[in-house]
Amino acid sequence: MTEIKDLNRFWNAYKESRLGLIGLVILLFFVTLAVFAPYIAPYDPHEMFKPMEHPSSDHLLGTNDIGQDILSELIYGARVSLFIAFFVSVVSGIIGTAFGLLSGYFEMFGFFLMRIVDAFLAIPRLPLIIVIAAFMRPSIWNLIFIFIILGWPITTRIIRSEVLSLRTRNYVEAARMVGAPDTYILMKHILPNVFPLLVVRLIIEASHVIIAESSLSFLGLGDPVVKSWGMILHYAFVYPTIFISDLWMWWMLPAGLCITLTILSLTFIGYALEELVNPRLRGMTRI
């Protein structure tokens, strides 16, 4: 019962934010594309027709250099980006939260773990991803693995600093004094309170993963079998006449806009949620 009430209250506060609503609508649009791709897309994205066709009623956005329907590639591309983003942010979120809770609660463990986190955060992320990806087989699961390995440290740091402040609260002290076990305190009193912060973090991580995946694919390090938006841009970019003909209008622009709009929707949602979580930002700008 209380959960439903909480959810209702949350939704009532969230829908006050116009940015948040716009973000949600855009994201839902792409989620729909991803889920129903086989029913929406006019063709199989791997099926080959006549190459380099201009837009026509048969191919609304034309075909690429090997004759695949670009519109179908775009629709299936939503699956790749959203799946990777969702999977990576959830898994690295779980790992990051577990480490964050433990390192905030147990001091020695926290000290050592934070040195590892420091090392991770000091190394620039994209060059590291590029180097690892260049040495591994370019497959979607390898990419996901790399993104998870590099994603958890930031979550851990954020959750840890929240736990450090939560553990000095009166109700936690009280629970400890009456002899509640550590696991009970962590799960019952601390986890629910870091949850809002975690949701914001997941959204931001998801948008970082989408940028990273499309950047890697753009550089030619993506999974060659999987059709992602970044991959479409890669083949468009290396095509000799992309800039000096009209090709860019249907080959490059739509794929780029799909990436941009997805990141935009996540940014807006993240901002709206952050306003709800951070009381000092709340109520100052409602947009």
């Binding site: 420091d118 620039p124 060059p127 807006f268 930002l281």
Partner: protein, 326 residues
């Protein structure tokens, strides 16, 4: 004390990065040379002649025991030896030194510009919190920040180079140009720098802006601002003297963190504009599976970022008096 812990931390990180660079090619299935001849999914096959193969074998030193390989590798790095580039057929360190100046120019100019603009706009936004200019700035900066840098760069090339013919689409200088004066050379370099810098500034300004705005909003909620108001000080004076100064502190840490992030954008932007920096080298190295160059470029980029972090840490200690007595 604080300083010693920090310095030890940085030394440890550098050792981790060096070891990572050493072990990565050796831990992958097969030996490092097998990537070159049979890597799946690569764009172009590489045919190794005997001479290059021999050079690569000495670079990796695979015939020696691992400890000897590691020792040689570390010794080589201390002497500035980063191996031999297969594609360029030249020492990796020579190629990197030539490219570094362009990357420094690009990253330095962009960082200076987006920091100043971001801080300024963030302060203006927080100052007018809830007002029209705040909402306008917030929405527009969040929106343009959503464009991936490589896409933005491609759009700029089409708009400003191809359609309007205002700026060059690639390179850092006009090829085969004979400059009559230093001024002419400088203006040609700036002319080529314009589009890549604009792309980087636009894709990074949002983060600083948002941080500055949030930081200002937090400071404005502090008691000492209330006190200043109660004393009847002018609003602009409070904002400038009290709020902005204190809000700037978290931004300093941000510069270092952002520089790491920025490097990612630089790789993409240099690739799109064929700008001859380290990022472009990294892309070429990936395209041609030039592993020694790839690893050398990665190493240089990482060491520079770590150095930037270190400087920011030291500056931060100077600025925040609370840390000095630790």
């Amino acid at each position: 004390m604080h300083r010693i812990t920090k310095i030890t931390g940085y030394v440890a990180i550098i050792l981790v990065v060096l070891s990572f660079n050493f072990f990565l090619p050796r831990l992958m299935p097969g030996d490092p040379l097998s990537f070159l001849t049979g890597a799946p999914g690569m764009d172009m096959p590489i045919v190794l002649d005997e001479e290059t193969r021999a050079k690569l074998l000495t670079y990796y030193g695979l015939d020696k025991p691992l400890s000897q390989q590691f020792y040689d590798y570390m010794l080589g790095i201390l002497h500035g030896d980063l191996g031999w580039s297969i594609y360029h057929n030249a020492p990796v360190s020579d190629i990197l030194i030539g490219a570094l100046k362009w990357t420094f120019l690009l990253v330095g100019t962009s960082t200076a510009l987006y920091m100043v603009l971001g801080i300024l706009l963030g302060a203006i936004s927080a100052w007018n919190r809830g007002g029209k200019s705040d909402v306008g700035l917030l929405v527009s900066l969040l929106s343009i920040g959503s464009f991936p840098p490589f896409f933005l760069g491609m759009l700029f090339i089409i708009l400003f180079s191809v359609k309007l013919n205002l700026f060059p689409a690639f390179g850092a200088q006009t090829p085969f140009m004979e400059y009559s004066s230093l001024l002419e050379e400088a203006s040609d370099i700036l002319y080529h720098l314009f589009l890549p810098v604009t792309t980087l500034v636009i894709s990074h300004i949002g983060g600083v802006y948002l941080l500055m705005r949030n930081s200002m909003l937090n400071v404005i909620g502090e008691d000492y601002i209330l006190t200043a108001r109660a004393k009847g000080m002018a609003e602009w004076y409070i904002m400038r003297k009290h709020a902005t100064k204190n809000a700037l502190l978290p931004i300093i840490t941000m510069i270092a963190l952002r520089t790491g992030f920025m490097i990612g954008g630089t790789i993409l932007v240099e690739t799109v504009f064929a700008y001859p920096g380290v990022g472009r080298l990294l892309f070429d190295a990936v395209m041609y599976r030039d592993y020694p160059l790839l690893q050398g470029a990665f190493l240089i980029i990482t060491l520079v970022i770590i150095a930037a972090n270190f400087v920011a840490d030291m500056v931060y200690v100077q600025l925040d008096p609370r840390l000095k007595h630790d």
